[in-house]
Symmetry: C2
Subunit: 237 residues, 2 copies
């Protein structure tokens, strides 16, 4: 089972993935403010939370993984490259996460941050990919802070994501326009920054011209997420 959940405040998508035979579940990119909602849903569906999985260290919201680990004993999974010392499972490219009869496979897709990971799942005859902020619907994550790099992001999308079957369902980390999912084929054709007509130099130029304001929560969110969701005293800020 795949169930999308939304945090309206930060337009973040969290995903509940569960194997309904073993009742084992994981949450991808849980949000601190939504932990009670998510725990209630796990109880109602009689699911055991085994993992929390971060696609990356977020700058726009605090992860719920710390509170969820305390409440359930779920192990937290995040790319080793992100440097989250308190994570239970520092994962590398190719890491396989077993969930009953389901299996998720990590693909390193750096560019928004240096440790961004996408997770691929075969489920009910279809390929699914949870892309975090690497590939969004008709967009992508910004590359102008943390360890972002637009050349790297372009390479990640084209080699690691666009190599998946066109019918692969794309489950993004955010959406700001009410879109909930997409497919790899759609993004190859219609992503205005990353469709197959756009070369790397053009993409790098697009990203350099965005001139976005810093994310509102970055000074709180990044230190907290490096501490598995514990809000820490920020020096300077």
């Amino acid at each position: 089972m795949i169930r999308q959940l939304f945090d309206k405040e930060t337009s973040t998508y969290t995903y509940l993935v569960a194997d309904m035979r073993s009742r084992k579940a994981l949450l991808i990119d849980p949000v601190d403010a939504q932990v009670e909602r998510d725990l209630k849903l796990l109880r109602e569906l009689e699911l055991e939370l085994v993992y929390t999985v971060e696609t990356h260290v977020h700058a726009d919201h605090v992860t719920g993984s710390g509170k969820l680990r305390e409440a359930t004993g779920a192990k937290s999974v995040v790319s080793a490259t992100e440097g989250v010392g308190c994570a239970d499972i520092p994962a590398a490219h190719g890491h396989r996460l077993a969930l009953g009869s389901l299996e998720l496979e990590a693909r390193a897709t750096p560019g928004h941050t240096s440790g961004c990971m996408s997770w691929v799942l075969e489920h009910e005859g279809r390929t699914h990919v949870f892309t975090g902020d690497t590939l969004l619907i008709r967009g992508c994550g910004r590359t102008d802070f943390q360890s972002g790099d637009s050349t790297t992001l372009y390479q990640s999308v084209h080699t690691q994501l666009f190599s998946l079957p066109d019918s692969t369902v794309v489950h993004p980390g955010h959406d700001y326009r009410g879109q909930t999912h997409s497919t790899i084929g759609e993004e190859k054709a219609h992503n205005p920054r990353l469709n197959r007509e756009i070369d790397q130099a053009t993409f790098v130029g697009i990203m350099a011209d965005l001139k976005l304001a810093p994310p509102r929560m970055i000074d709180v969110a990044v230190p907290a997420n490096l501490s598995c969701g514990r809000k820490v005293e920020v020096q300077g800020g």
Copy 2:
């Protein structure tokens, strides 16, 4: 294909349903403010909009059906009971809407309004129901304005919706807590107002005690929706 779309301003879900062989599509509960997004998606997916379907006359947002009809020629479908004189297809309980090889079937589920309809679809081996405001995830539409009646809503849910298979996917008209879908089995077990332990009198009491403020947009939305999305001069208001 079923694709959920969200209007953040009013927490409204719109659904794009398409038969990918014939490329025929319909939109359930389109939102006026999102028509450009929805038309763009139809163009990108190379779909022909054949119908717009209203689950009811909304009090919280203006329908996009008028603009969509002008742009595409799609026929608007709404329960005859709602009294929308400009609708192309006034539907009754049991109405079948063909969409290429797909078929949606109307179930009259009054209670939130007297003309509320849910639409049932068999798709990829599963039953789906678009419930509008009759059944929400762990909730239901209010029954204290327009032609609402809580006894009627209780009967609609228990006879028309809870009679569907437990595995039926519930696609609601709104959600305010970031939940995207549910199942009939889950709602029978966990809906705090309508689970199988709650009798009709208790439900009527719960609804009478809600004491909600009137919806912000009711004076604009209801007259506009009775005119297929044309915003009309409101007398008095």
